[in-house]
Assembly symmetry: C2
Homo-oligomer: 275 residues x 2
């Protein structure tokens, strides 16, 4: 089942001259709606706004998005939401139109039904061969230029492999194809620096904040492949999956998870809080 609103109205199509289609000129968010409530909405909206501003896009008003979300909640109280903001319709050429009118697209689809074992026993992952490009002007932003993710995801077909890890050209770990990554080292959390590539997701931000709150050391650092492989635990996270530990990464295996279950509890608590 799908339900889509384009600028607040039910629609299955967008104008063919949308700059999101022409150039990937826009940003998006993916989040879960559960029991009619868009999870961590204030943070999601703040990140959407920040990403819009980073590209010189006018962010949609929160009230307009709230109305969209309520309209969807009435029909699909449990769904995956994708909110896309594009630079709207524009003529030929890269120059931004003089009268910029952003377009907002809110699309609801069925929540993915992942096995509970992914969160509890962990998943199988692999390393992708594609190396993420370094572009400080786009790093951290969840923009619509996602061919790297598409190509990386196309590297494997094995359904047992749940996620692929992406390195940069210096062979440092950045993220999964659709998630952020943390490692555990001697009781401390470490997550890669995303100043040069990758997407800085809302769930990553939550973990950084929760760790500080709970007095668990948490650092943003460069993580080489070797360092990741030697970690005590590795976990992947995004707004739909929460946190999944990695049980098997090519020839390496992990079975004892101490901090990952704790992080999962933190995330549950955030989800159930009104903020």
């Amino acid at each position: 089942m799908m339900m889509t609103l384009v600028d607040g109205e039910p629609a299955a199509v967008v104008p063919v001259d949308d700059r999101g289609l022409s150039y990937g000129d826009g940003v998006f968010r993916t989040l879960a709606m559960r029991q009619g409530s868009a999870e961590l909405w204030s943070r999601q909206y703040a990140k959407l706004t920040a990403d819009c501003l980073a590209l010189g896009l006018r962010p949609p008003a929160e009230a307009a998005l709230n109305a969209d979300i309520q309209r969807i909640a009435a029909q699909m109280p449990d769904c995956a939401l994708r909110i896309t903001v594009t630079r709207g319709s524009g003529g030929r050429g890269y120059a931004m139109p003089s009268s910029v009118q952003s377009r907002r697209i809110v699309a609801a689809s069925t929540l993915p039904d992942y096995p509970a074992s992914y969160g509890e026993q962990g998943i199988r992952a692999r390393f992708c061969t594609l190396r993420l490009a370094t572009q400080p002007k786009l790093a951290g932003i969840k923009h619509l230029n996602r061919l790297e993710n598409v190509l990386a995801r196309a590297e494997w077909q094995d359904p047992e492999v749940v996620e692929g890890l992406l390195l940069d050209a210096d062979e440092n770990v950045i993220a999964g194809t659709r998630c952020n990554v943390f490692i555990v080292e001697q009781g401390a959390l470490v997550t890669p620096d995303l100043a040069r590539c990758g997407v800085a997701g809302v769930t990553r931000e939550l973990v950084l904040e929760a760790a500080a709150m709970h007095g668990i050391a948490c650092r943003v650092e460069t993580i080489s492949r070797k360092r990741l492989e030697a970690a005590d635990e590795i976990f992947l996270l995004n707004s739909l999956v929460g946190a999944w530990p990695i049980a098997k990464l090519e020839q390496h295996t992990w079975a004892d998870f101490v901090l990952t279950p704790l992080v999962r509890k933190w995330l549950d608590a955030f989800r159930n809080s009104p903020y």
Copy 2:
């Protein structure tokens, strides 16, 4: 005036779940139609096909595109054509849908009306501050992930500045925001290597071929900013503009063009040839 065909039918819209919009998952071509004929069509189709294959996209049949072009030619015999091929509609997630059905979009718009002086006396250009990212898996391909070009083009408003030049992170010249670049050094042509970033356009390929045909030395090499600034001539090219010499690049000026007018003649001859 605009006229658009989506999968062969007149349409002003595309489905909102098109992967071109969701991820920039597709490629495109821009070319001129003059007197009802799509210029250098065989080469344009060959490049479109090569770019599709590089992304694992099924290229549209040439007959289907020919029919689209003829349909447009009947109404707009002189126009700028943009041909876009996307991976079509797909659900949530980066994984390519198992039954891939590419979507083709052929959009015609009015041919831009550039001053003749751009080709004869030259244009004013600048250096952009954005540095192109290095991604060998996407380099050369005219894909839909064009945020770098959009951000680079947004760096200046001055209408006297016609184009911005883009460097890579090593400060080597790669291209303009919407064109390829050649320099002239002691009677030889040199154009940047595009193995790590940039788009290898059809007009660039033509110049390489024509130079070989006419016995003019022509090399693909790394071109530093200093080397470019010291060149005897610089020219920019794409399928719509042909070749424009640079007359002014920040504090540097050029006024004597010897090889650029010759290249313009080569391009005219190619355009008027049946192939």
